[in-house]
Amino acid sequence: MWLPAIVAGVAGVLVVVALHDREAATPLEAVAILLASAAGFAFDDPVAEILAASPTTLRQRRITRLALLGPPIVLTWLALVATQGPASWAETWALAAMFAGLVGLSLSIAGVASRRSTTGRGGIVAGPGLFVLVIASTLIPPRWRPLPLGDVPGGWTPIYLRWSAAAAIGLLVLLWSSRDPARITSRLGIPAGRSTPRERGERIG
């Protein structure tokens, strides 16, 4: 969990130092992608299978891990934004929305992948998943591009809205993927992660 965040932080510093003379957007977009990809490793837990049987729910376990990894990542991003110095507040808010959107998407991909994998390691999917999503977004004309890197028609407002929507969708998918597979939802007392005999098409009784 920590190694990607440390590598991303160091790489982010190098990017800002190397591209300090350029417009703020390019290096800070790169930094946001780096840190968001690292955030995807938040749920990688070597003992996930053992803790799956503990009374602490999956959502609580994920919140705990995010509470550990989230602040250093956000603080690193804030420090690098302050160092690079965007041209205006409007650009700062756009970059903030983009960072939130990328982190939200990365966490949602990692959340879904962790839930589906037997080892609980979804971080390996977060980076490539984010890459594919952003590149796929560039195939769409700028007027409708859902994840805009750079300018789009309409000024700052579409950028705020689209990245905020990406963050919200990412959060919702993350919450959905964080349902505990062992929670009891039926009157038969069968955990949600398992199908009932009736759902499996078996005869009861």
Binding site: L3, I33, F41, R121, G123, I124, G127, P128, F131
Partner: protein, 268 residues
């Protein structure tokens, strides 16, 4: 032969079936399949441009295919990197050390497996080039070299993915390198050093051929870097020297001739 016995006398005998298995795994990897999706979209955009405009040429509209194959090459690197990190991810490194197949053979098989994605790219490009030749003026010599360059970039980045797994064994690294490769793509106007990026498309066939040689040299170097983690032999040293000489010689020619200082215009 038992696990504690001697290594096979002919590593090539085990390399081929291993490479075949790894190649099948690579071309079915979700990251690679996503890349194939991008190439199909790039091909569709090119075909639409040709059908909708009578004056289309490969030079004007074929860039969608080239960019898509570049993205596929990056995703091949990610897939090869994840394949090479499989042992570590499953905590099976020590177990696999006891196998009768040497680690260098398994690494060599992963490198050889990049031929699988390359074959898929050949098939995709053959289809679109065949269509292009039937509809637009024939491809220039530089265009043809660019196609071979894109193909070699797939093998080169696949090999880089394997090398990264040996030296920087974290699944976080390969996607970051991929983003970096996109970030350093030649802009408009390009800078001289950008001739050394994999995506520099030189407009002269001769210079493009030097760039192709540069990519092949890098492939050899990455292959040596991947193999030298587990095996040190004289042939590896020789291959490394050949790769380094090729890279330095081609880079020197490209630096000297891609952006002649007198004109201030770059050939890419």
């Amino acid at each position: 032969m038992s696990a504690t016995g001697t290594m096979p006398t002919n590593p090539r005998a085990s390399l081929r079936p291993l490479a075949r298995v790894e190649a099948h795994k690579l071309i079915r990897h979700p990251a690679f399949l996503a890349g194939v999706g991008f190439v199909l979209v790039g091909i569709a955009m090119f075909v639409r441009a040709i059908l909708s405009s009578s004056g289309s040429t490969w030079n004007d509209d074929g860039w969608t295919v080239g960019v898509a194959v570049a993205v596929l090459a990056i995703l091949t690197m990610v897939a090869a990197n994840l394949a090479a990190l499989r042992d570590r991810r499953e905590d099976a490194v020590e177990q696999h050390m006891a196998l009768p197949v040497a680690q260098s053979t398994r690494t060599g098989a992963l490198i050889a497996a990049t031929a699988g994605p390359a074959m898929v790219v050949v098939l995709l490009l053959a289809g679109v080039v065949g269509f292009a030749i039937s509809r637009v003026p024939s491809l220039t010599a530089a265009d043809q070299v660019h196609l071979v360059e894109r193909l070699s970039a797939v093998v080169m980045l696949g090999t880089l993915g394997v090398a990264l797994a040996g030296w920087l064994p974290s699944p976080f690294v390969a996607p970051v390198i991929g983003w970096g490769l996109l970030l350093v793509s030649p802009g408009d106007p390009p800078q001289t050093w950008q001739v050394l990026t994999p995506w520099a498309s030189l407009r002269q066939a001769e210079l493009a051929t030097w760039h192709l040689g540069y990519l092949v040299g890098l492939t050899v170097l990455f292959g040596v870097a991947a193999l030298v983690r587990s095996s040190r032999s004289r042939s590896l040293v020789i291959a490394g020297v050949i790769g380094a000489v090729a890279v330095i010689a081609c880079a020197a020619v490209l630096f000297a001739r891609a952006c002649p200082s007198r004109t201030g215009v770059c050939w890419f």
